[in-house]
């Protein structure tokens, strides 16, 4: 007797087989000694289980049990969720963080704008040269030699310029001495 036949015998004992197969199992149990013994054991086990299966009973009526669950759910929904306690330090940092971000962006914008504008101004002002005669007696001529990258200030004596308009003369008191 193979495993399939054993399973079918169990199903037959439980009354789960169709008529055709039930007859086959009945014939098998009648003809085969081992099949008959197995059927006997299965019937004993079935009887024992059926007679000793524990029966669980609700201590209260099902309606009362489910109404308790519903009331508990409704109570839980009504209680507001308690907000977690936040320290003042954490709150301050939460406020400071976005402020710092905004300040940083603003600061970098101002700096980059000022650098940009400064560059533009510098380019324009770079070539501006201011010359000033601080002595009434001395005149000056200034020019730039582009080829030699040289800014020249030539000084001359004003008094001698008026005396000799055709030619500039050396200063009386040469600073070279």
């Amino acid at each position: 007797m193979n495993l399939e036949q054993q399973l079918k015998l169990q199903a037959w004992v439980d009354g789960e087989l169709p008529d055709g197969e039930a007859r086959q199992m009945s014939d098998l149990a009648a003809a085969d000694e081992s099949a008959r013994a197995l059927v006997g054991e299965l019937r004993i086990a079935k009887t024992i289980l059926a007679g000793n299966e524990p029966e669980v009973k609700f201590p209260e009526s099902p309606d009362f049990f489910w109404s308790k669950i519903r009331r508990e759910i409704e109570r839980a929904e009504k209680v507001p969720a308690e907000a977690p306690r936040v320290s003042w330090m954490h709150a301050w940092r939460r406020m400071l963080a976005p402020l710092s971000g905004v300040a940083l962006v603003a600061f970098l914008t101002v700096v980059s704008l000022s650098l940009y504008q400064r560059g533009e101004i510098d380019d324009g002002m770079k070539y501006l040269v201011e010359v000033e005669n601080l002595s009434e007696d001395v005149g000056s001529i200034s020019y730039k030699s582009q080829s030699e990258n040289m800014f020249v200030v030539y000084l001359y004596d004003k008094d001698q310029e008026t005396e000799k308009e055709t030619e500039l003369e050396p200063m009386d008191d040469s600073i070279f001495q």
């Binding site: 940083l104 002002m125 010359v131 040289m150 070279f176």
Partner: protein, 154 residues
Amino acid sequence: MSHRLFFGRLPRLFLVSLLLAGSTAQTFAANLKLEAKLIWGTNDEKSPNPDHKEVDPATKEKLRKVFKWKNYFAVNRVTKPVPSRSSNRFELSKDCIIEIKELEGPKVEVKLIGKGKEVHKTTLTIDKGQSVVYSGDDKNQSAWFVIITELSEK
């Protein structure tokens, strides 16, 4: 990035940016190292003063291209730093002093002081390789020059 890291890092980033920007602004202030040379120009082959040395060929060639004199002799040379927003005096001879002040820009104010009197003032930007030259005629068809240049190393 976690919340904690975000809130912890942003204020620190702000402070670092602040310091960085401060150092950037500081770069606009220039510490200059300048050289001032007093030179005598003449058509004579030699200077009557044996202490005068002929200038180097490059300077001589440069001056010859701008001025009419053939020979140029170095009388004195002074090298000094000019700290940012400060001034320094370059005493080239008993009667010739150059006062240089570093200004915002960065620009420099060059003041020529002759015999104790302020004679002339020029305010300009000195680029690398550029020279500022004060000049004037001297006796016997000669001339004096004060050449100011910024040195590379600071």
